[in-house]
């Protein structure tokens, strides 16, 4: 497990990361979300000890620098185009493999895994963004690390590439590894991640399973249509549950379907229809980060105030 505790960093007296704590579990994909400028990349760099700051990040109880071969503990993809443009893709990986004490034979394996074997001897300076991302992922998995930390790995990938990446990340986690991945593609994240960590303006906003975060959003309601609506409304009020009246019945906030069903039964109200009305991850994200958007368009700003 990666345990992050009290990470903080200040740039010119402005907190970039402010006392952020969370965990990344093995066997799961943990998504890392936040608006632009929220401090996601800085948090990742602090976790790896690349930037100076306060707080700790331990990998299975030890700091990264305590491992003799950190590449076999954590594989990273922080920037898509992090390579020398005139060093061939294969040599780029050989350099990184050597640094991690990894055999050259692994280089050809990972090139094969990411589908870059055909361009192994090509200079990556003219690689597309998608190919660069694949090369970055190859570098990350060189040491067969227990943890992967990927910063926006889907950037520039075509639909096939995104599909491949999603499956790759899920498979990697299913093998008992932990994957910590940041992305702006929320639909991708909802399909890929088990858990989420959400930050805004450097502060932790939410963490938990994807479903918990979606359910916790205000937009998530239970839609219920009952036989004796007035009686049921009274019962809801007695239980201090807020609701709205719609054409399709009542939309109850902050409750789950089983609780609403039980309440109706206790009130002697026949239930005609009962359904969860959940928001998408995107809606939940926009809602919980509404106050943390540093850069936003006029439309989003108006939407956030709704």
């Amino acid at each position: 497990m990666i345990e992050v505790s009290g990470l903080s960093k200040t740039y010119k007296k402005k907190p970039a990361v402010d006392n952020v704590s969370f965990t990344v579990e093995t066997g799961k994909v943990t998504g890392f979300l936040g608006p632009n400028g929220a401090g996601k990349s800085t948090t990742m760099r602090l976790m790896l000890g690349l930037d100076n700051g306060h707080g700790t990040a331990t990998f299975d109880g030890k700091h990264l620098y305590e491992y003799t071969q950190p590449s076999q503990i954590v594989g990273i993809l922080l920037e898509a185009k992090a390579f020398h443009p005139t060093r061939t893709a294969r040599n780029h990986l050989r350099v990184l493999a050597a640094a991690g004490g990894i055999a050259d034979s692994r280089v050809d394996e990972v090139l094969d895994i990411v589908g870059l074997s055909d361009v192994a001897k090509k200079k990556p300076g003219k690689f597309s963004l998608g190919m660069s991302q694949r090369l970055g992922i190859a570098a990350a998995i060189l040491g067969k690390p227990k943890y992967l930390m990927l910063d926006e790995p889907a950037n520039g990938l075509d639909p096939e590439g995104i599909h491949w990446l999603r499956q790759f990340i899920k498979d990697y986690a299913d093998e008992g590894n932990g994957v910590f991945v940041s992305s702006h593609l929320l639909s991708e994240m909802s399909q890929m991640a088990d858990n989420l960590v959400v930050i805004g303006r450097g502060k932790l906003i939410a963490q938990g399973s994807v479903q918990d975060i979606i359910n916790g959003a205000k937009g998530s309601t239970v839609q219920v249509r009952v036989g004796k609506q007035a009686v049921f409304e009274k019962a809801l009020k007695n239980h201090k549950l807020s609701f709205e009246k719609h054409d399709d019945g009542l939309h109850v906030f902050g409750a789950k379907t089983d609780a609403i069903g039980k309440l109706a039964f206790e009130a002697g109200v026949p239930v005609l229809e009962l359904a969860n009305h959940t928001v998408s991850l995107e809606e939940a994200f926009l809602e919980i980060t509404a106050d943390s958007q540093e850069y936003r368009s006029q439309d989003t700003a108006k939407g956030g105030k709704k």
């Binding site: 690349l50 071969q69 992090a82 390579f83 060093r87 040599n91 350099v95 991690g100």
Partner: protein, 253 residues
């Protein structure tokens, strides 16, 4: 440490710039030693017992500039292409990376420097022979020459390395590398005889041949090679410590 050394070695030999710069030096040394030294300096050749040493020293001077640039590129390209994050994450200690880079660069300098010196020696000899002039019997102190030339070339490489670490910018480090000696020349107007205590002046003095006709005017107050090495080493040590501390402690970007 071996893993870091291997990685740094691979970094050096897997980029085009290393080969281009090295090839330029080798070809340049061949041409300069044969045509400029061998064929144009007959008067010195027939009277100077240190003629071939001077030839080697001049070629090394050319190489030293290039080796410093190779050092600058090895360091600054890591920052320019955002590789430094990967390098430092893979190494359990940043100090290992710093030391490994320095060792690989010193190794490169000594190996290629030896080749360049050999080219200077044989190129000048062949050039003199081609003119029909008779080369004066050469009396080169071998071991003294080896350490002086080694220290001189390695000194330049380490200057490039330290500048690269301090500035992390290709252009900034190269500009500063070329500006420094010019600045020293200007400071010489103020410092006069004390100019010899400036770092590049001292570095140049390490390999210069005392009493050689090619070594330029020798004043009575000139530093010996060993003293010059001491003066230069003090500057290098101070800059090296600052560079090391910054490399280990500052954000890797």
């Amino acid at each position: 440490m071996f893993a870091t050394l291997k990685s740094e070695f691979l970094k050096l030999i897997t980029v085009r710039s290393t080969y281009i710069l090295t090839a330029l030096v080798l070809v340049g040394a061949m041409l300069l030693s044969y045509f400029i030294f061998g064929r144009e300096q007959e008067a010195f050749a027939s009277s100077n017992p240190l003629f071939l040493r001077d030839a080697m020293y001049t070629m090394l001077g050319v190489f030293a500039t290039f080796s410093a640039i190779v050092a600058i590129l090895l360091v600054t390209h890591e920052y320019r292409y955002n590789l430094i994050s990967y390098t430092l994450t893979a190494a359990s200690r940043r100090s290992k990376v710093f030391v490994a880079k320095a060792i690989i660069l010193i190794g490169y300098t000594l190996v290629i420097g030896a080749v360049v010196a050999a080219i200077g020696y044989f190129g000048a000899k062949a050039g003199v022979a081609s003119t029909g002039a008779v080369l004066a019997p050469q009396d080169i102190p071998v071991w003294t020459t080896i350490w002086q030339f080694g220290a001189y070339a390695v000194g330049y490489t380490l200057v490039g390395f330290v500048l690269g670490v301090l500035l992390r910018s290709v252009v900034g480090a190269i500009v500063l590398f070329f500006m420094f000696p010019i600045a020293e020349q200007m400071m010489g107007l103020l410092l006069k005889d004390n100019t010899k205590y400036l770092p590049f002046q001292a570095l140049e003095r390490i390999g210069a041949t005392p009493g050689s006709q090619m070594a330029g005017p020798t004043t009575t107050g000139d530093l010996t090679s060993l003293a010059a090495l001491g003066v230069f080493a003090i500057y290098l040590a101070i800059a090296g410590i600052v560079a090391f501390v910054l490399f280990v402690r500052r954000d890797a970007n």
